[in-house]
């Protein structure tokens, strides 16, 4: 083991991570440390941001290199347990058919957690009345918040958010951003947010990892990394 700081602030440690898809190098010998707190992964479209996010809870594995979570290599974790602790919210809502509450209950059940639907919905900025709604009736913005509430129902330690507001209008975007800010202060959840928008990174994160063409262009405190 390289890292001796088991209880240090480093959440993820990436070493020479490479990934090729369809003959294209998506991530190229990427090395970085992601600390506790709120980190934005920024960069132009196609830089490998979303791919990197998917590696962090093992929805995919790199072709080369290693990733450690809290000092332990990712492959030493049970992938299912890891995903319940490091929860990923995708770019677009993808809920299971049924009611909002059944989705929350499903997620909580997988993580072995009790469920307070009203609280989860409230944390995601939704009225408790949403619990009975059918997911087919939700707007994209509402669906995205239910996705967030569903992830929160698992009480994760880390939330991975892939362009959480990309599909939303300004009003819905501001609401989600306010919600995320509140989550950080209330629940002490670590946030890793993929965004193509440096301004959003400034609003939501304190640190940033800037990718360009699958490589680390900068990593560190926000202003430094975005400069």
């Amino acid at each position: 083991m390289r890292a001796v700081r088991d209880h240090g602030p480093v959440l993820f440690e990436l070493r020479d991570v490479s990934l090729v898809r369809g003959g294209r190098t998506v991530l190229d010998s990427l090395s970085a440390e992601i600390e506790l707190g709120a980190t934005a992964i920024v960069g132009p479209s196609g830089a490998g941001k979303s791919t990197l996010l998917r590696l962090l809870n093992r929805l995919a594995d790199p072709d080369a290199g290693s990733i450690a979570y809290r000092g332990r290599p990712l492959e030493h974790y049970d992938p299912l347990a890891l995903r319940r602790e490091v929860s990923l919210v995708p770019q677009l809502p993808a809920l299971l058919p049924g009611s909002v509450e059944s989705n929350l209950r499903y997620a909580a059940g997988l993580a072995g957690r009790g469920l307070d639907p009203g609280r989860c919905l409230g944390l995601a900025g939704l009225d408790p009345g949403f619990a009975a709604r059918d997911v087919g009736e939700l707007s994209v913005g509402e669906g995205q918040r239910v996705m967030l509430a569903r992830a929160l129902a698992q009480q994760p330690a880390v939330l991975l958010l892939d362009e959480p507001t990309a599909a939303l209008d300004h009003g819905a975007r501001d609401a989600i951003e306010a919600t995320l800010g509140q989550l950080r202060s209330e629940l002490e959840i670590a946030l890793i947010i993929v965004s193509h928008d440096p301004e959003q990174a400034r609003r939501l994160a304190t640190r940033a990892l800037r990718l360009e063409a699958g490589r680390v262009a900068a990593c560190g405190p926000l202003e430094q990394a975005l400069a």
């Binding site: 809870n57 093992r58 995919a60 347990a81 995903r83 993808a94 997988l110």
Partner: protein, 257 residues
């Protein structure tokens, strides 16, 4: 049901008049099926004649081993044929092969064990052929559907995996729908049998001079056996095939890699 009729090659040749009619219609309305109709006619003649001789050989030899060999070959070719219709499922061959074998073994095993048919070539060959043919169609339809569904629902499946669900849990709704679509055609045609169409066995027996009551009873036995075999093959094929979409770490595989 002991009636037997003689059919001469001349009678078969006379039936070609209907094929000529089909070719004429295609040509007249420019359906461009003439070539396919001729190929289908020639192939059906060659294939059925060949299998007729093979069956006669097996009946004459009267040994269970030849029956098993013939059924094994049918299962193998059934799996190969069905695989070509389930291209979107990675490594579909083995799930199909195991599904067909399970359907054939269970169905034939049960009809023999329940005393419905004697374990002789005269019963096992035709029943086995029908069972395997229908099971092949059902499992091909089921896996075709599974491939389409998983392809269209990758985002949803990954979102469910991201919650820490297993591949089995994430794929369950799609496996369920695939199983349903593989089985429902036969269920529907069984519902309308006798009303909208006469099934082949019954027609064959009536033509061969059997009593209608016998023809109906035998047809019912076969329909029920087919329902079982179709469900088994679709269940086994989908239950095995969905795993091929996932890695051991419960990740959805990239398609085409």
């Amino acid at each position: 049901m002991n009636g037997s009729i003689d059919v001469s090659l001349g009678q078969v040749a006379a039936a070609l008049a209907l094929v000529a009619l089909a070719v004429a219609i295609s040509s007249w309305r420019r359906a461009e099926l003439e070539r396919d109709i001729v190929i289908a006619t020639v192939r059906s003649f060659v294939q059925l004649t060949a299998i007729g001789y093979a069956i006669k050989l097996i009946f004459d030899a009267d040994t269970i081993w030849l029956v098993l060999a013939l059924l094994s070959v049918m299962i193998l070719f059934g799996a190969i044929t069905a695989r070509s219709r389930a291209k979107k499922v990675p490594n579909a061959f083995w799930p199909l092969l195991i599904g067909l074998a399970a359907a054939a073994a269970t169905t034939l095993g049960l009809v023999v064990a329940l005393g419905i048919f004697e374990p002789t070539p005269r019963y096992l060959v035709p029943v086995g052929g029908m069972v395997i043919g229908n099971a092949m169609t059902a499992s091909a339809v089921a896996l075709n559907r599974l491939g389409d569904e998983v392809g269209e629902s990758r985002a949803g499946i990954e979102a469910t995996l991201a919650l820490g669900a297993t591949a089995r849990e994430a794929a369950a709704p799609f496996v369920r729908r695939a199983l349903r679509s593989g089985t429902i055609t036969l269920v529907d045609s069984t519902k309308t049998t006798g009303l909208i169409f006469f099934p082949g066995t019954m027609v064959g027996m009536l033509l061969a001079g059997a009593e209608p009551a016998d023809a109906v009873r035998l047809q019912l036995i076969l329909l029920y056996a087919l329902l079982g075999s179709v469900a088994i093959s679709a269940l086994v094929a989908t239950g095995l095939a969905y795993r091929n979409f996932f890695t051991p770490a419960q990740q959805l595989r990239e398609l085409g890699t």
